[in-house]
Amino acid sequence: MQIRRDNEPDRVRRYTTDRQLQRIDDKIVRSVRLYAHQPEEIVQERLEELGREWSIERFLQINVAAVGLTTALLAVTRSQKWGWATCAGLGFFLLHATDGFDPPLPLLRQIGIRTRGEIDREIYALKALRGDFDGVEGGAREIDVPEAESAAQAVGVG
């Protein structure tokens, strides 16, 4: 059983084992190393693909809906006691929503399903290497309006 990482803001990473985290982070490293040297169109395609990648939240939502609907149906048609199974599934999902843990989480992490934050780390490493942030020197001065505009543009709200 994985203990809780108290300082981790990403609630899924909070309950992911060291080995699984290492593997997920290594995958980002490998992918960025590979795509950093690819032509622009390939990087572009990769970014679109990453944008469409299913985050772990969607898997967990479908999972709880499947479990909840099945047991609720059994509770209505067979024995009302099935309702306790519905309650348990939904209780865990509430725990996931607020703190992070959910029973299917270890399995999904084992097969490498990522959080949106993890996918975004890969996205922004590729964007930076492609030169999206070239107009932003950053760090040197305190006030810089044109740089703020470049940064906004680079992330897509410009």
Partner: protein
């Protein structure tokens, strides 16, 4: 010139958000970027940590859905099976949300300004760039500095003790 927001096109919640609500959310992100561009490094650090903790759309929706569905299931088990109708409806909508990115409470939360993780990360990475995290990755005549880019996007808290 390539597009700079192709990575957002897969965000289904964005695609299904009304124009006014979407403009307002993007305007908020833009305003925050402009504001923090003029702040000290410490303020940027704090803001980036705060963004990592910001409650995103999935979390808000999941909390909301699980409370309603759980209330229905509890009442359905202890009082009257008809309450399972509430559980069924909510879970049906949750499935719809997972697949299409839309369900009835989404427009309400969007109007309240709840952002998706992709939108929060837009602000986060713009601020990281302004902090100088991506500085010097590309220099004329040299290969891109891949390892520096990777370091710049490392998880904010170093979670694994055995990381290199």
């Amino acid at each position: 010139m390539y597009s700079t927001h192709e990575h957002l096109e897969g965000d289904r919640v964005r695609r299904r958000t009304g124009r006014t609500a979407q403009l307002r959310i993007d305007e908020t992100t833009r305003r925050n970027i402009r504001y923090y561009a003029c702040q000290s490094r410490a303020a940027l650090d704090d803001r980036i940590a705060e963004l990592d903790r910001e409650r995103d759309m999935e979390q808000v929706l999941e909390t909301n859905a699980s409370i309603l569905a759980l209330a229905g299931a509890t009442l359905g088990t202890t009082v009257n099976r008809k309450f399972f109708l509430l559980t069924g409806t909510v879970l049906g909508f949750l499935t719809q949300h997972a697949v299409t990115g839309w369900c009835p409470p989404v427009p309400l939360f969007r109007r309240m300004g709840v952002r998706t993780r992709s939108e929060i990360d837009q602000e986060k990475y713009a601020l990281k760039a302004l902090r100088g995290d991506f500085r010097g990755l590309r220099q004329a005549g040299q290969p891109p500095r891949v390892e520096d880019a990777l370091r710049a996007v490392e998880a904010s808290t170093l979670s694994h003790a055995n990381s290199t």
